[in-house]
Symmetry: C2
Subunit: 316 residues, 2 copies
Amino acid sequence: MTRKLTILDIAKLAGVGKSTVSRVLTNDPKVKIETRERVEQVIQESGFVPSKSAQAMRGGSAKVVGVIISRLDSPSENKAVSGILDVIYAAGYDAVIMESQFSAEKTNEHLSVLQKRNVDGVILFGFSGCDLSIVESLNHKAVVIAVDTGQISSVGYDNYGIIELAMANLQQQGKQHISFIGVDPSDKTTGLMRLNAYIEYCESANIEPSYQTGQLSHESAYELTDHVLKPETEAIVCASDTLAMGVAKRLQELDRSDVLVSGVGATDLLSFIFPNTFSIDPGYYAAGKASASLLIKQLAGCHDVTHLTQKAMIAQ
Amino acid sequence: MTRKLTILDIAKLAGVGKSTVSRVLTNDPKVKIETRERVEQVIQESGFVPSKSAQAMRGGSAKVVGVIISRLDSPSENKAVSGILDVIYAAGYDAVIMESQFSAEKTNEHLSVLQKRNVDGVILFGFSGCDLSIVESLNHKAVVIAVDTGQISSVGYDNYGIIELAMANLQQQGKQHISFIGVDPSDKTTGLMRLNAYIEYCESANIEPSYQTGQLSHESAYELTDHVLKPETEAIVCASDTLAMGVAKRLQELDRSDVLVSGVGATDLLSFIFPNTFSIDPGYYAAGKASASLLIKQLAGCHDVTHLTQKAMIAQ
DNA sequence: CTGTTAGCGCCTTCAA
DNA sequence: TTGAAGGCGCTAACAG
């Protein structure tokens, strides 16, 4: 392997000065088309690759954004990350993805690493108990997803709308006896907000509430099903597809194919396996795109703190 | 926000020369302990963070490895990535993750970006039709997962062992009529190799083979089920959990709870929803760890080309 | 239009 | 044990 080439080598090879090479690299319009072609020719042939580290150091921007996801294997976050990547690649940035595993400590570690790396910005998937103080100090170089904080831009899911959408849909189908299974309210968004949304909807729609909360797992929902299932129950709304999976499984065992189940997450597997089922899509992909666009806008100089709420829709 | 500090600022603040600060940063032993403490003190107080870009440019190593995954939402690759991250973080590296979406073109784009970024190494999740020529030129700075190539280190899954394990397990349970559903053999590993493993196992075990291949989707497997299901069928081995899900679903509809189904991937959902089911774990997490360890060893100077095969096991 | 000249922030000889 | 000086690869004035 030959030594790494630099613009100086290219300059010599092309018989020009190194700044001309630099100009070609940066698409500076004031280069004679002819010269440019010659330089590009040489670059091609020699397989020269400009050093990002040097560019980053010179220009101050590494064209990198950090993405701190809570769990790599979360389908919802995956969808959002896809949206993020699409946007930031298009804008010429790269992403370094890190996993917080819902640990505030790990998150802060990651943040400090990202800071060392001179990343241009950060997108953080928030979680209950996550410490936003460091992120806030990043000011206009960060966007938080899924939790709201006054000081820093965010993209949130419409936790109320999600549940309302499910409830309204069921009501339209003539269902009146609708139960709910969620997760522990110590989780502010998926837990508390969705539960409250259910309770409030029941009040305003004159539905007798019947609900249980537990862990975010199939098993937990499976076990809780019997506690909210009455002979007259017509539907069960779940705070997530994972829960819906457990509920639907239990209903199947009990031969209660009359009970409709709704989840949140747009997992195609759910309705494939259990027909009398539907899912609400909180708009993960769109939220990812939105957060990335927001960040890029801020990096470009827009210093407003914006709070977006992603609109939910019925999956498919 | 104050201007970014440099070692020079720290040097002045601490009343030393900038090289001394640099020495402190690099843990150079020849610094009077007293001086070091003073410098570290100042660094703490001022919140100085050395610029990785500058370090990278100077030293040549950015302490970054690129990871090119085929799909972010692939549960199997997620597990492997977790393994990779665990290892490389521990070794002081960071990861920039990119998604190839099974496109050779995108992969090459990503590779060129990574090269520009001066990453220390690359881990690539291979796929059929993926163009390894560029990766090969990276020589000892790359590891490929899931496909084998002579020239470059790799960690592969034991596609034969995976199927053999499933078959043997079924035989032990007294099953003799075992069918197979896989994916199109144009996919070399999940498709061709696993199919061949099935056929060969049948030969040596004197089992009448009965198989179909299609797409890697629940629907495809669902539809193919009837083609391999005979009254005497006792089990169906599937090339992946996704397929197994489709097959189990169809069997449930047909009331064939007598037929056992096996998948590949260790998805907990599979056996949760369908009891008469089990899954083979190709060792994704371990493979991820192995590939990262391999890469780091190579970056540290070991220039052997190593090919590892991850051992499969029955999930749980 | 193009070449020359400074640095960017850091690490590393080379002297002291 | 420490400071001064040089240079990594690149970009951005500043002159031609």
